[in-house]
C-alpha cells in the first residue's frame, strides 16, 4: 500500500507520547557520563600545574606561587584531559552543560 505508508505512521506518532520536552522550561534530562561543565574543587588542589600543561586549548592557567587557578570557560572544550591528569581529583566534569560562555570572563580561584 504505497499511498498509506506515511498515514498510519502519522496516526501512530500522533497517538504516542511526544518525544520532545518543553525546553528551557523543563530542564533537559542529564545523561550519566556526559561531558558537561568543568567543576573545580579548591580544597583538594595542590596547584601542581599538570592540568594547565595538558589542556589542549590553553583554557587553564595555574600559578603555583600565588596558589591561583584560572579557568577561561570560553576556551574550555570539556575534553576532560585535565580531569584525567589531576592527581588530587580536584577537577571533574559535571553532566550539566551550564549556560554557554559568550565573553572572556576568567573564573579565578585562590587557595589559602
Amino acid at each position: 500500500m504505497p499511498y498509506f505508508q506515511m498515514s498510519w505512521l502519522a496516526v501512530k506518532w500522533a497517538l504516542s507520547k511526544p518525544p520532545t520536552t518543553r525546553y528551557p522550561f523543563v530542564p533537559r534530562r542529564a545523561i550519566a557520563g556526559s561531558r558537561g561543565q568543568l567543576v573545580f574543587t579548591r580544597d583538594n588542589c595542590v596547584y601542581c600545574t599538570a592540568c594547565a600543561k595538558k589542556c589542549p586549548t590553553g583554557a587553564l592557567t595555574v600559578e603555583r606561587a600565588q596558589k591561583r587557578f584560572v579557568l577561561d570557560r570560553l576556551r574550555c572544550i570539556s575534553c576532560g584531559c585535565c580531569v584525567e591528569i589531576c592527581p588530587k581529583d580536584s577537577l571533574a566534569l559535571s553532566t550539566s552543560h551550564g549556560s554557554p560562555a559568550t565573553t572572556q570572563n576568567n573564573e579565578s580561584y585562590s587557595g589559602t
Binding site: M6, L9, G33, S34, R35, T57, S78, C79, G80
Partner: protein
C-alpha cells in the same frame, strides 16, 4: 531561448552549509552550474604546525560536525601508522562501534534533510527523532553528542562497560524498529519515489571516471567501500558493500537506507565479540615520516596525508574529503536537470561543506 543566471546559496533553505552555485538556466532547465566554494575556510590544515601532534586530534575532530569521530580516528590511525603504535584490540572495536554510530546519525541526518528538501516535513521530523536516540547512545558512551572526543593516539579515552553494552544493544533494537518504519516510507512511498526515481542518473562509468566516492559511487554499481580494507576491527566483522545499479537519486537514497541496517549489524557484531583488555597504550617520542591513510566516512572515502619531521608539531597535514570528490559528479548531475530538482540533486551527494573547505 535567453539564458538567465540564478544564484543558489550560499544561504538557502535547502542548504545545510554554505556553497554557492550560479545556475545558468534556459526556461526551467539548468544548462550549467558554476560552483564557488570557500565560505567556511578555517585554515585547520595550517594549524598542524602550531599544535602538538597529540592535541591535534581535537582539531581534526572539528573538521566536520557530523563525521567528527571518523576524522579523529583517521588522524590517530595515521599517526599510529607513522609511529608504529600497537593499538589494543579493544580500542579497535570501540573505534568501530563509535564510527558506525556516527554513520547511523549522519545517514539519518541526511534522510531528514532529503525529506525536508522534497517538502516532506513530517518525515524530516521523524528521521531526526530517531537520530536523537542515536545521539543519546553516543552521549552516554563518549560524553559528547557531536564531538565525541573519545579517540586518542594509541587507543581510546573511554571504555564501554558491560552495563552500557547491554543498554546500547537494547536501544539499538528500538532504533532498528523505528528505522524499518521510516525507511519503508523512503523506499515505497509514491510521492518520494516520484521525486527521486530517474532523477540525476549517474552511470557506473561516469561515477568511476569522475572519481566519486561513498554512497554516490556504490549507487552506480561500484562496490567500493574503504571499510573492506580492514582498518580498526572491520577485518574481523562480516561486511559487504551495499550497492545499487540504477545510479539515480532513489538508488543513492536506498544505499544509505540499507547502510543504516548494515551499521546496526556491525555494531552488534562488534559489541558481541569485543575482547577484554587495555583500551590505550602510552605513546612516547615524536613521529617522523610520511603516511597516507584512507577510511570510510558516511559520505565516502577520506584521505589523510601526514608528514612529520620528528618534532612535536607535524610538518604537513592534508585532507581529501568525500564531498570534494563528489562535487564534479554533482555539477554533471545538475546539467540538464529541471530547476525544481536542483535541491534534491545537491542534497543527493550529501554535501558537507565545512569538511571540504576545512
Amino acid at each position: 531561448m535567453a539564458r538567465t543566471i540564478i544564484p543558489f546559496g550560499p544561504q538557502h533553505p535547502v542548504l545545510p552549509e554554505p556553497i554557492h552555485l550560479d545556475l545558468v538556466v534556459e526556461d526551467e532547465k539548468v544548462v550549467e552550474a558554476r560552483p564557488s566554494i570557500g565560505f567556511v575556510h578555517r585554515g585547520l590544515e595550517k594549524l598542524v604546525e602550531k599544535k602538538d601532534y597529540t592535541e591535534f586530534v581535537y582539531v581534526a575532530e572539528r573538521i566536520c560536525g557530523i563525521c567528527s569521530f571518523i576524522h579523529g580516528q583517521t588522524y590517530c590511525q595515521a599517526v599510529e601508522a607513522i609511529m608504529d603504535v600497537p593499538v589494543p584490540p579493544r580500542a579497535h572495536y570501540l573505534r568501530t562501534v563509535w564510527g558506525e554510530l556516527s554513520r547511523i546519525h549522519s545517514h539519518l541526518l541526511w534522510l531528514g534533510l532529503m525529506a525536508d528538501g522534497m517538502g516532506f516535513e513530517s518525515l524530516f521530523m521523524h528521521s531526526w527523532r530517531v537520530r536523537e536516540r542515536v545521539l543519546n547512545i553516543v552521549e552516554a558512551t563518549t560524553g559528547g553528542r557531536v564531538i565525541f572526543g573519545s579517540c586518542k593516539i594509541g587507543g581510546v579515552r573511554r571504555d564501554i562497560g558491560a552495563g552500557a553494552i547491554k543498554d546500547t544493544l537494547a536501544e539499538l533494537a528500538i532504533i532498528e524498529r523505528d528505522l524499518r518504519e521510516i525507511t519503508k516510507v523512503f523506499l515505497n512511498d509514491n510521492s518520494v519515489k516520484s521525486r527521486l526515481c530517474g532523477v540525476g542518473v549517474l552511470s557506473r562509468q561516469e561515477a568511476h571516471e569522475m572519481g566519486c566516492v561513498g554512497p554516490v559511487l556504490r549507487a552506480s554499481g561500484v562496490a567500493q567501500d574503504m571499510r573492506a580494507l580492514g582498518y580498526a576491527a572491520y577485518q574481523e566483522l562480516e561486511m559487504k558493500p551495499v550497492t545499487r545499479t540504477a545510479g539515480d537519486s532513489y538508488a543513492r537514497c536506498a544505499v544509505r537506507c540499507e547502510e543504516l541496517f548494515q551499521s546496526i549489524s556491525l555494531i552488534r557484531q562488534a559489541l558481541g565479540k569485543i575482547p577484554d583488555g587495555e583500551i590505550a597504550v602510552k605513546v612516547n617520542g615524536n613521529p617522523k615520516g610520511e603516511v597516507i591513510m584512507r577510511t570510510e566516512q558516511p559520505r565516502g572515502e577520506v584521505v589523510y596525508c601526514l608528514k612529520a619531521n620528528g618534532s612535536r608539531n607535524l610538518q604537513r597535514f592534508r585532507v581529501r574529503t568525500p564531498t570534494f570528490a563528489n562535487l564534479p559528479a554533482m555539477l554533471k548531475l545538475l546539467q540538464g536537470c529541471e530547476l525544481a530538482d536542483v535541491p534534491v540533486l545537491v542534497l543527493t551527494i550529501d554535501p558537507c561543506i565545512s569538511c571540504t573547505e576545512r
